[in-house]
Symmetry: D2
Subunit: 123 residues, 4 copies
């Protein structure tokens, strides 16, 4: 059930390096405390959500091309802050995600959670 | 200044596939509309922020190991929902992030934005 | 179309005073910078949203009594941080809300916005 | 330690009524499911946080007049969605807030929480 933790992630490493250069060139490191990056990340997540807030679920499955492009740009913003925060905290994002899938598999056993959106402590 | 868009991202693909299996085994696809996933993503981003809300910026740079592990787990949650949403919307996350770095480089020219946290429309 | 700005708000004043006492008794004022309070407010707003993230819109209109009570408690958290932030920034919340309704009436003229969820700059 | 639950809140009632008229005139009620309103509220809370994300805590205590006015407008947006959601769910906001202060007083006893930002389950 788990993804293979040994798979390398050159794309995430390349993003990390590009963001390091971007911040260094602009002297932005003083602003990039983990606290500030976490705030910025949650602001971007909300900008992503804003695109969906008045849509029905069905409409959200059928975005027009321009809406989809705008949504993709907000998703990029979230990923960029996430990669930047991981760099500052020395977290291996891909490994953390693989580990979390394994933990979720234990919290949500297939038999108990099938077809239910209940939280693990209410199964 | 840009990351190389051609770099493959096996880690993100592996996560996507693991999440597909996870949802399929539990019949969770009906819950995973883009609208719902965007809401869940922003909730996880807030849970990440919660760890930092009363910390000073300096303290956020020096997390104790347990706090750092808890933060890494919230970051994993954000990445998992982001990968899942990208799958549902058929968005190439890594390519979108590379494109966004390029756009940001245009919005924030080095000379104008050095040492400033002002938004691009206020430079 | 506007609410009456002159209406007093004894409930909001009483909450402000209760929160002042609460923080003073616990020496919490140093934590309550506007930046931190804004972060805490957005975390509480996400905890509110969490209750709805997997529900259909119809289900969200028909909460069971326990779910409704839990939701009311999260709404209270949002209001408390909002009142506390308003106190720290010396903002008259009720007056600001009345003024915003008037601005919204101009941004969303009845004829143009009827039955549409489009944003004012896309009408 | 508690605020007086019996205090009436004419300002909140006036806002509720103004928002009812506003939505009715624009046929917006179909969009205003509790789920959608909770999402919109959290988006506004993030827009509020955005003003503070790169500021130091000290700078957040000393906003320039234009920044303070912009922040007050975002706070108004949060209050308006909160009042609208309370109306849809038939929640008495002021009473819920008073009850929450009392619960917090029990969760955070003065002696145990003085000068500490730790969560109640970690006191």
């Amino acid at each position: 059930m788990s993804a293979d933790a040994a798979i390398p992630d050159p794309a995430l490493v390349a993003l990390r390096d590009a963001l390091r250069r971007f911040a260094a060139e602009r002297d932005w490191d003083p602003f990039h405390s983990p606290k500030n990056l976490a705030a910025a990340l949650s602001v971007e997540a909300a900008e992503l959500l804003e695109h969906f807030q008045w849509l029905t679920e069905d409409a959200s499955r059928n975005l027009a091309p321009e809406a989809r492009a705008a949504v993709a740009e907000e998703m990029a913003d979230v990923l960029l802050y996430l990669v930047r925060l991981a760099d500052k905290l020395d977290v291996d994002l891909a490994a953390a995600a693989v580990a979390k899938i394994d933990r979720n598999a234990q919290k949500y056993p297939v038999e108990k959670s099938r077809g239910s959106s209940r939280k693990y402590d209410q199964l």
